[in-house]
């Protein structure tokens, strides 16, 4: 009963918070504006979608940073969070509500966080989640930093994305650096995006009519913007399988922010 009262107060926007450390300030990198050809291009103009420039955190959120978040915001602790906001896998790799435990590397990307939790974290540090197209734009900036041959970039990115998001050691995630200085987009866990549920998929990748027609087995290649970009296929497939409450061992979070000229006040 007491817990319900406390939860209700907090839910009503109560300003009472435990005495907490200030939110960590992520270091951001500037992602230049550009064109993105979304995976499935029905209805998109030929050149692709224009994506405005924005700021993207240099690194994904770490276990240590997320620990500060749940310490300052107890409603997001593992034993207290509402199941509708995060399923039973939420932070299951931690030893306790506010204890990482010896198995967990503090600097490694946090995983097992739901979309609702990811949004709450981003809001707490004064940012937001990137959109799908923003993330894909940042992930396309690898022409020079991956070795040599631009024709092999897709194959190399695919190899990197297969290299194992299971390996959540800092080295694995941060070794891969984009042209704009963003680390860990490949070689680490996948990352939540704000609009993950706009991927139109029924899970039956070979349906041949209606809203599925971008995704049927042959269409998946024929209608895709870049059928050789298999790592993008994999990311879109993963996003299509998610729900907001899901906490996955291979899915973490990275904070974004509007570029200075267009920064809006307050959470989105």
């Amino acid at each position: 009963m007491t817990r319900r009262v406390v939860f209700a107060i907090l839910l009503c926007g109560g300003a009472v918070r435990a005495a907490a450390q200030p939110a960590p300030a992520p270091r951001f990198r500037s992602v230049a504006p550009g064109q993105v050809r979304p995976m499935f291009i029905a209805g998109v103009p030929d050149g692709g979608l224009a994506v405005a420039g924005f700021l993207l955190a240099e690194r994904p959120v770490s276990n240590a940073e997320y620990l500060r978040f749940v310490t300052a915001n107890p409603e997001w602790q593992r034993s207290r969070v509402a199941r509708i906001a995060a399923d039973v896998s939420y932070l299951r790799h931690w030893a306790g509500d506010t204890r990482l435990g010896p198995e967990v590397v503090p600097a490694a990307p946090v995983v097992n966080v739901s979309w609702f939790a990811a949004r709450a974290y981003a809001d707490w540090v004064g940012g937001r989640l990137p959109t799908t197209q923003e993330w894909e734009l940042a992930a396309s900036r690898f022409r020079t930093s991956i070795s040599g041959d631009p024709d092999r970039v897709n194959a190399q990115l695919l190899a990197l994305s297969q290299a194992g998001a299971r390996d959540t050691t800092p080295l694995a995630a941060f070794r891969i650096v984009s042209d704009e200085g963003v680390t860990g987009l490949f070689g680490g866990p996948s990352e939540w995006v704000d609009d993950f549920n706009t991927v139109v998929t029924s899970g039956e990748s070979r349906g041949d009519s209606g809203p599925d027609d971008g995704l049927f087995c042959a269409g998946g290649a024929a209608l895709a913007a870049d059928p050789s970009n298999y790592s993008a296929f994999m990311r879109y497939a993963l996003r299509g399988s998610l729900r907001g409450s899901y906490a996955l061992a291979t899915l973490g979070v990275r904070v974004a922010r509007d570029a200075p000229a267009t920064r809006s006040r307050g959470p989105r």
Partner: protein, 490 residues
């Protein structure tokens, strides 16, 4: 339990009906599968799967049941070939996935469990399912989650199942396939042994055999140019100690699947003939006495054969470079007593000389262009060609010969001592003991069927190269003269 009594009565009645209908015509359609269902709940059982090459036990019940299947999808790194590792996406942790076995008319409750360590969502399309996607949409599952759907096994036969998550080709290429057997009502003809085999390809960035962890190469997959074509998920999976084992006199059945993703298989067992083939894994043993049967990509075949003699019988895809160069090779090791009446093995080995022992001399073709004396440079150039084509094999490229076997021509005292004798050796051959540069040789040099012009050319070449310092060339007339002169008696 009280509630089970009317249920048991219903089942008994259904069993009676089914027993009466057991001699149904072989044209019984799929619709009968549902018609045969008893009203009321089916008995529930949990499926026991088997991992290749083992096959789950034949079904003994004569009535439909509700079968609960739990299949886990997991991404794991393991051996593809010696020194080669690959990150496989699997059903049940193995490639191929386990073999499932149900009976026509069964209601299958399928649980697809995606291991939390998976990077990808997965689903399943069972070709035994009648319904959209074969179950794919209903089973689309994120990592760390589980999906459930049910279907009725309407048609008997041997069906492939595979993952159908985008990009489908990649999910299949990484190893997500297996077989589900839906037994017909009366079951399959009993055999002594059953085996489960699946052929498939792997597309790695490195060439066949390149060591280390090999990533998937999507370009090779698009071009249908695999580095590995294997049985049961890795090179040598059914070879040597892992060979299939059977005994003489047994009738063996192979459930053969083809996971693809691209190639069609020409399945053949070397030294055996398929007594019965259920073409494309259908429910009819529609062909007999087949050497090689096609297994479509995403399809299957069932073959029965009786083993008559012992030995190791090699399973291949008879697109033969796949077998010997890419790994599509397996073994069936059969033990038992020999039967010489069926296969004798080698009975004899003799020398074969169709025209006797003499060296054949083919006549020089009539009507050949008349030869002429060549100028020096042309003569030597031709001599070099003749040497390379006829002499170098034994006397070696620098004329050094092979010690103890072929005498040297380089700085050869024997060669240079007597020009006419040298011409005679080339034209007539030489046998018996000779001493060259102080070393004894006692072999046979055959007479070479060269034109006189070629003899002149090659001898001119040899006598002015390899350290030999002849001042005169061998001419056409020299050769003609030697040829016309009978050899001196020894």
């Amino acid at each position: 339990m009280r509630r089970s009594t009317p249920f048991l009565v219903v089942v008994a009645a259904a069993a009676a009906v089914l027993a009466a209908a057991a001699c149904a015509s072989p044209d019984a359609s799929a619709g009968d599968a549902m018609a045969d269902r008893p009203s009321g709940a089916l008995p529930v059982e949990t499926l026991t799967v088997a991992y290749a090459p083992a096959v789950p036990a034949a079904i003994t019940r004569k009535t439909p049941a509700k079968v609960v299947i739990n299949l886990e999808t997991r991404e794991i790194r393991k051996r593809l070939a010696d020194g080669v590792e690959y990150t496989f996406w699997t059903f049940g942790g193995s490639v191929p996935g386990p073999m499932l076995r149900v009976r026509v008319g069964d209601e299958v409750e399928f649980h697809l469990n995606n291991h939390p360590s998976s990077q990808m969502p997965h689903n399943i399309d069972l070709h035994a399912v009648t319904g959209p996607g074969g179950g794919a949409a209903a089973s689309f599952t994120a990592p760390g989650h589980s999906s459930t759907f049910s279907f009725a096994a309407l048609n008997p036969g041997l069906y492939v199942y595979h993952c159908a998550t985008a990009p489908v080709g990649m999910h299949i290429a990484n190893g997500m396939y297996g077989l589900i057997l839906v037994e017909p009502k009366e079951g399959l003809t009993p055999v002594d042994r059953e085996f489960y085999l699946v052929q498939s390809e792997f597309y790695t960035a490195g060439r066949h055999g390149a060591p280390g962890i090999q990533p998937f190469d999507m370009e090779k997959a698009l071009h249908e140019d695999p580095e590995y074509v294997v049985f049961n998920g890795s090179v040598g999976a059914v070879v040597g100690d892992n060979a299939l084992k059977a005994k003489v006199g047994e009738t063996v059945r192979m459930f053969v699947g083809n996971g693809g993703p691209n190639l069609i298989s020409s399945f053949h067992v070397i030294g055996e003939i398929f007594d019965k083939v259920y073409t494309e894994g259908g429910s009819l043993a529609n062909q007999r006495d087949v050497q090689t049967t096609l297994v479509p990509a995403g399809g299957s075949a069932i073959v029965d054969m009786k083993l008559e003699v012992p030995g190791t019988f090699i399973l291949v895809d008879h697109s033969i470079f796949r077998a010997f160069n890419k790994g599509a090779l397996g073994m069936l090791a059969v033990e038992g007593s020999e039967n010489a009446a069926i296969y004798s093995g080698k009975q004899d080995d003799q020398v074969y000389l169709p025209e006797g022992g003499a060296i054949q001399a083919m006549p020089i073709e009539a009507g050949a262009a008349p030869e002429r004396e060549l100028p020096r440079n042309e003569l030597l150039a031709r001599g070099q060609q003749v040497y390379a084509a006829n002499c170098a094999a034994c006397h070696q490229l620098e004329g050094q010969g092979v010690p103890g076997a072929f005498p040297p021509l380089a700085s050869s005292d024997y060669l240079m001592a007597d020009k006419d004798r040298a011409i005679g050796v080339v034209v007539r051959g030489l046998s018996g003991a000779v001493t060259v540069n102080g070393q004894p040789y006692n072999g046979v040099m055959p007479s070479l069927q060269l034109t006189n012009g070629d003899v002149a050319a090659v001898l001119s070449y040899v006598r002015t190269n390899f350290g030999n310092r002849a001042t005169d060339l061998v001419t056409l007339r020299d050769v003609q003269r030697v040829r016309a002169t009978p050899p001196a008696a020894r």
